[in-house]
Subunit: 420 residues, 2 copies
């Protein structure tokens, strides 16, 4: 089954928001052993929406539209769907009831029978919305299915989970098993992996399935899509692939096998080994802590952090001495180490990771250009690992790279304790 996504959102094409629904849909389909074939974003314009719908229905069996279902006049999806089906919207008792239920859940009175949500083109089924007010729409025509859901990510998600999961479970039984194996590397550029380190690797991996190479912030994610007819074949292929990777010269650069985010891997390992940690963040301004606390269960090992943006906070809350800052400079291995030590002392964590650097765009000097960062991990037992890095990018990119480097150092520190 080929599935296409039509994003109806002038606000995305004007840069007011970033589309998050494509990613959610892709991951949702993966759970159902399905793939997203393509995604098209158009403006809130009737003619453009209709053209795009026709186009996607031409190459896909199932088209999901996102957005344009609200009550204001720039919401055009239902109108276009009616045009496509050659049906005008008429009052529908079912639609009226669905909308009324959506409102009831928020203790809000439904505006009444004249409201746009009570009207529907013939042949279209209204779908209840468990996280918002606008009903979704579903219809089938000439062996094709069309699903229209609101663009608000929360509503987009719950609509798919509430209505499409059961539908797919009933209507789509996959013949082929597939599993995406991902090997995540660190501290090595893409070209070196497939060039100098292991020139035969790409061809070798291709024997297992489609290969992809995704350069990330501190390394490359190598993906191989395994396909098999049954569990046994899949298990054999998987074991064989693991042996290939085990024997590759790139092995020392692989820090994880799987699709979990670095912060998930960290929280899992720390919780398993009952190791507590926290951050002393300067230039990352809370990003490390934010990423960790995105993970459910992080409260078992992440105790807290000090965001010591201003030097006064480094001194007051982390007991970094003014003298050290003035002698060594605030962006130095010594200050990073003092911050990490201060954090462990203040919060009583097993590991403290500190970050001090310059995210710019202003304030760089020839000796300490924008992009310089010092990172330290201090262990309660007294040991400290620290690194100095230089990255490139704008302010937000640099914050991301600094945070990624700090999380990698934390992961290494956790592995060091876990392995000892």
């Amino acid at each position: 089954m080929k599935i296409g996504l039509l994003i109806i959102a002038t606000e995305v094409l004007e840069g007011k928001i970033t589309d998050l629904n494509t990613r959610f849909l892709a991951l949702f389909l993966k759970k159902h052993h399905l793939e997203l074939f393509s995604a098209l974003t158009v403006r809130d314009d009737q003619a453009e929406i209709k053209k795009a719908l026709v186009l996607l229905l031409d190459s896909c069996d199932f088209v999901i539209t996102s957005g344009g279902l609200g009550p204001t006049k720039d919401d055009l999806t239902k109108e276009v769907l009616g045009q496509y089906l050659n049906q005008t919207s008429v009052y529908s008792e079912v639609a009226h009831q669905v909308a009324e239920e959506n409102y009831k859940k928020y203790d809000r009175p439904y505006p009444g029978k004249d409201h746009v949500y009570s009207f529907l083109p013939k042949g279209v089924t209204p779908l209840s919305n468990s996280t918002g007010l606008a009903p979704g729409l579903f219809t089938q025509i000439h062996d094709k299915s069309i699903l229209c859901v609101p663009g608000v990510p929360r509503e987009f998600k719950s609509m798919l989970e509430d209505h499409i999961s059961p539908w797919l479970n009933k209507n789509h039984k996959s013949q082929i098993l597939f599993e995406n194996m991902v090997f995540r590397t660190k501290r090595v550029p893409e070209e070196k992996i497939f060039g100098e380190l292991d020139p035969e690797l790409w061809n070798e991996l291709t024997k297992f399935g489609e290969v992809s190479s995704l350069p990330g912030m501190m390394g490359v994610d190598i993906g191989i899509k395994l396909r098999a007819r049954d569990d046994k074949e899949l298990a054999i292929k998987k074991a064989h692939l693991l042996t290939v990777m085990e024997n590759s010269p790139i092995k020392p650069h692989i820090w994880h096998q799987g699709e979990e985010r670095l912060e998930e891997v960290i929280v899992k390992l720390a919780n398993q080994k009952k190791i507590t940690f926290g951050f002393a963040e300067s230039c990352t301004g809370g990003l490390c802590s934010h990423r960790i606390t995105n993970i459910s269960g992080s409260s078992h090992s992440f105790l807290g952090s000090v965001i010591s943006y201003d030097n006064s906070v480094k001194m007051k809350s982390l007991e970094v001495s003014a003298e050290l800052i003035s002698i060594k400079g605030v962006i130095s291995a010594e200050v990073a180490e003092a911050m990490a030590k201060g954090l462990v002392a203040k919060l009583d964590t097993d590991i403290g990771v500190s970050i001090t650097g310059i995210a710019g765009p202003h304030g760089g000097t020839p000796e300490l250009p924008v992009g310089t960062v010092c990172i330290a991990a201090h262990f309660k037992n007294g040991k400290t690992n620290s690194y100095k890095h230089r990255f490139f990018g704008d302010r937000e990119t640099l914050k991301e790279r600094f945070a990624q480097a700090a999380l990698i150092l934390l992961h290494e520190a956790l592995e060091e304790i876990a392995g000892s």
Copy 2:
């Protein structure tokens, strides 16, 4: 000039990453008084890329492709461009030099004349890459322009800025001035604005230009796209529109006029009035501080924060008493107020904003369901404002909503001081 974006990225359609280039391109074009017409995402598949390129070139004058320019075998953009132009790739001295320069900047040796970057279809110009290794490509055919740039957001950005800004300045002179006026509201649902509060507003605004309504985390952004032939006409329209909004019953809900992010508005106001602030973050886990420190210049007013995720940190670093936590519960107005006060005392800020709540998915109770949050703003002079909210959503959505509510409270606190 109609501009289309073709994103070549299996990783986006598989949900491994979120596309950020659409948003950047949209904002980039806006600066040049241009609009992004549509955006299409396809897999790294030759036939699909070619089909998509033909399709976009059919409706657009200028097509920008993102991705597929790297050195690995899943990088197919150059090959498809060659097919489209009916040209095979041949060794090009210019391409070789451009690639060599890209490498030199990172102190890395260029792999040599056999390297894929030294080959190019005839009629294609290679473009230097100031933030990466892969060269970009540019060509013109039948009055249409095609630009191919790497998909890594940093490289995507710098390519546009380095090569397309000057090209647009030379080749595109806008006849029409336009300005997008945005009025940002808070604490009011979309339907209430255009229903109960001001039913005539939408029609009234339409007289000025295209109207859009974008519901956000704590309110609705109303956008009106003004068009004019010259500065004078634009100024008159603008003044007239401002009067309309000034007299609308929705006026008290407007917290800002403009497209700046809330964190930009906060940093600007705090810097202007020389007011310092910080956060005591529990359930938001650093997100408030992260958003503020994304803004260049935030170091003038944001001193730092304490991420008191664990209760031990609330007690140790914010001096919240164990007794208060046990009597009132950790998610209570009283604990939020104590956290905010503790922060002001510890970091010596003018304002301290605290957040304590439950982001879930586990740990909710009937009395304190997932989504409950208490937020307080404490002023150094002794006053404290606090609120209790209930939001809906998954863990990451809730963190975002909590942070947005906290930043709105901070903004109100800043306005209170600034206005006094």
